[in-house]
Structure formats: structure tokens, C-alpha cells
Symmetry: C2
Subunit: 247 residues, 2 copies
DNA sequence: CGCGCTGTTGAAACTTGTCAAAGTTTGTGG
DNA sequence: CCACAAACTTTGACAAGTTTCAACAGCGCG
């Protein structure tokens, strides 16, 4: 191999996505794969894509080709209806997948927007289907991921259908906390990447209601809140509050 | 083959589920399969199960082994939390699948309850995964079904997060109407299989609020309501109402 | 025929939304 | 690096929508 080839090859290796040495292995699709299987997966995950804050990863109505794994950063997904209403359907962080909604109709049904500068791995879906016909583990894991999304959605439906404002916010914060923890960050102290309005849209509340709930939590010593910087001071009371009987 | 064997074999054939001559082929998993593929699917769908009204098809916490296709009847799924709150997450009718939530943790995460005498086909999930490794079409169709469930859930989140009571009920009725229509029943006249309380739980409302919304619709000439018998008198106004700007 | 379950309706209480104003932070261009 | 504009957040007062509580009506079943 000439020096020039070697350099090109090296550059390629650097640019190329590689599941095999990605530190998200344990969160993302490659869970439990053997070395040779991982290698196949490496070939599958063709490209990375960088996004700046505010960029759309995809939009509702666009053709669906790939699902995306968040390598770094933070996203929201939302759906709009004609009359102008919109609903944030989820916030996605490192290691989570985006785009599963597009499989059903070959078309994305929601918007995915970066809430901070982010990077994703694009996984061409037809390739994923192909590979998962060869690798049982991958197939099963992918099914689990889709199912988990359905279970998560049921949780949100529960939240929207039965909880009141403060319970919703408590549930939201505890969920974020736990996801940060799972990624090795502090579960007690973190920065929100989304605005009050976006939280409100996710929780089915107006931004003022979200703001008031934050203030109340702070008054009661459950949190310290400075703009988007949150510190959870009393997790157990938050949990209690979340699952409290209605009075 | 002895007479006894032949009889046994016949009985087996009768009892046995057969996708190949099921009139739900176009709604359920077998969409677009070739004759020889259908035959394989027949072998997959091992058993039918009959349920009476009120019977549980499965309960939250039970081990997950199979998904179910509704052959006839009507189901609801719901999730409970410790403090006694519950949320109906969906109503399933002929040709729809139940149990997808169980894949993620090998355990059902909600209850599935028959709202009328019903019959389902049980599809052992590991077999389905096996077969879908052989039949692309089946694999892709199954992925579409899971994805459609996710999209549906987003719709419910939208409903719960942004709509007011009457809009929610209108959306609910229009959705039912369209599903009855797709099955060859009248889209304008049908019997609800669920109580006001169950509708309320699904829509995030109290049963009294549901009842009042029905009354108002009736007063305004949009519906005729006699207990659970519904006749839609003005579909377009219902649609308008559903997607109306907030005042 | 009456009991129980489901559904309807009214009035009052409560929660959340709306509107408005002011404070705070962030980003940009000079 | 400062100044100013834009975007976001907080807070109050009031309005609207939904729930709660209670009473009663209707239907189905034993």
C-alpha cells in the first residue's frame, strides 16, 4: 500500500462511522453482537451527519429512507396539524433512535429538530432489514427498540391522560434525570435543552403553567432552577408527588 | 392413513387457524404474500383463542410469548399505576394486532381485555421472527405494523395534549367511523362497545364530560345517540369541529 | 318487579389557559 | 466589547374549561 493510499484509508477510517468502536455500543443497536457481526453493522451504518442547533434532521412528509441514531446532542420530534396546533412527541438523546415513525408509510410523519449542535448516524432502513435477516440478535434487538417506543408512548399517554400539571412536570424531570444517569451524567444536576414552551407542548400544558410549576417546586425546596439549569434537591418527594393520589 | 387418523386430521384442520383462507388477509399480517409464503404463515399461526366479554387476553406483568391478531370482537388495552389511576391506551378491532408492547421486556406492559365475545389468533413471536427472516415481505409488513402503532400513538398524544373535550370526542368518533368503514360496516351508524368511562379514560376526560359532549353533539344535530348506539348525522361538521382553531 | 349498573344533568369548586406587563438572557452587529 | 433587539421566562389577574359531588333517570337481568 502506498503512503498516499494509506493516508486516504486512514482519513476514511476517521470519517467513517464505526459501531465497533463507538462508545454508545451499549445503548444503541449493537447490543450483544459478536465481533464479526459488529463488522457487518459497521458497513451498514453508512454516514454521519452533523446538525446545528435548530436544524431539521427530517421533516414530516419527506420520504423515509433511514433511521438515525443520536451520537451526540439532543433532539425533539413534533407533529403539526393544519390548524396550527403542534405537539412535541419526544426528546431524544445520545444513543436513542429517530425516524421509526417513517417506516409505516415510507414517509416521515413528524419533524425531528436538533436542540443543540448534534451528530447522528444514518442507518439505511432497507439495509437494516437485510442485515437483521442475517443476524438474529440484531433483528430481535431492533424489535425491542420499536416495542420500547410503543411502551414509552403509553407512558406519555398516561401522563397526558391522568396527571395534573405538577405531576407531569415531576414525571418529566425524573425521566430526564434517569436518562442522564444512564449515560453517566449527574442525575441531580443538568441543563434543559428545551424551552418552557417545548416542555409545555410535550406535557400538554401552556408555557406559563410549566413556569409556575417550576416556581412552586423551587419554593417548596424540591428543585433549584436557574433558567434551564436544574438541580434536583429532593428526588423522593418528587417521586411521591408524581404518583400521588388525587386529593 | 387409518380412518381414526383421518378424522383426527380433519378435526385438526378445522380447529387450526388458516391465514390462507381467512377473510382478514387484507388487514392482517398476510398482506401481499405469495401462496407458498401464506402456507408457511399458516403453520406459524398456531392457535385460536376464544374470549368472553370481560376476559383478559393477557395482563400486565405476564410473560410475553405471542402477539395476537383479532379475528372477531373488540378489545381494549389499558395501563394501571400503583396509585389507582388507569389509562386506556387503545381499542382494537378485527384485523388489528395486540401485544406489541410485550416485545421490549419479554413481559406484557398492559392489560388486554375483551369488550365483547371475541376470537384471536395467537402468533408465537419467536416463530414470527424466524419466518420474517425468510420472507422479506412479511418482515417489512411487520415493521410497518409496529411503526403504524407508533404513529397512532403520536396521534393520541396530539389529541390528549392539544385538544379540548369536544374535539377529542369528535376525533374519536371519526376514527371509529373510518375503521368500521374499512371493514365494510356503516361508517355512520354503529354500536360503541365501550362505556362512557372507558371512552373518558382513553380521551383523558371524566365520564361526565364525555356524556355532556355527547349530549351537546346531539343537541346540535351532529349525532343521534341512544345509549351506545351512535348515528353520525353530520360528518363534515364533526371534522370541522375536530380541527377547529381554538377560540 | 326491583336492584344494580350505566348514563345524564346541574351547581359549585378547582385547575389550567389567556392576556398583559415586566424582567432576564442571548445573540448580533457596530 | 458594548449596545440593542429578539427571544425567553416569570408573575399577576381574570376567564374558561373540566372535574367533583350529588341526585336522578333508564335499561337489563335475575
Amino acid at each position: 500500500m502506498s503512503t498516499r493510499d494509506a493516508t486516504a484509508r486512514l482519513a476514511f477510517e476517521v470519517v467513517k462511522t464505526a459501531c465497533s468502536n463507538c462508545n454508545l455500543r451499549e445503548l444503541c443497536l449493537p447490543i450483544g453482537l459478536e465481533a464479526d457481526e459488529l463488522k457487518k453493522l459497521d458497513e451498514l451504518v453508512s454516514t454521519r451527519r452533523r446538525l446545528k442547533r435548530g436544524d431539521y434532521l427530517y421533516r414530516a412528509g419527506q420520504g423515509f429512507e433511514s433511521i438515525y441514531a443520536v451520537r451526540s446532542g439532543f433532539f425533539k420530534t413534533d407533529v403539526l396539524i393544519e390548524d396550527g396546533r403542534d405537539q412535541v412527541t419526544g426528546f431524544q438523546m445520545t444513543g436513542e433512535l429517530l425516524g421509526l415513525d417513517g417506516i409505516s408509510s415510507e414517509m416521515h410523519t413528524c419533524n425531528a429538530i436538533a436542540l443543540e449542535d448534534s451528530e447522528v448516524c444514518a442507518i439505511p432502513f432497507s439495509h437494516l432489514e437485510g442485515l437483521s435477516r442475517q443476524i438474529h440478535t440484531l433483528q430481535h434487538h431492533f424489535h425491542q427498540v420499536m416495542s420500547r417506543e410503543i411502551v414509552r408512548d403509553h407512558g406519555v399517554m398516561m401522563l397526558l391522560g391522568t396527571m395534573r400539571a405538577e405531576e407531569r412536570l415531576a414525571a418529566f424531570l425524573l425521566n430526564l434525570s434517569q436518562r442522564f444517569k444512564a449515560r453517566g451524567y449527574s442525575p441531580a444536576e443538568f441543563n434543559l435543552r428545551m424551552s418552557r414552551d417545548e416542555i409545555g407542548s410535550y406535557l400538554g400544558l401552556k408555557l406559563e403553567t410549566v413556569s409556575r410549576a417550576f416556581s412552586r417546586f423551587q419554593d417548596e425546596g424540591l428543585l433549584s432552577v436557574h433558567q434551564r439549569k436544574i438541580r434536583i434537591l429532593n428526588t423522593s418527594r418528587l417521586k411521591q408527588l408524581m404518583s400521588h393520589q388525587r386529593l
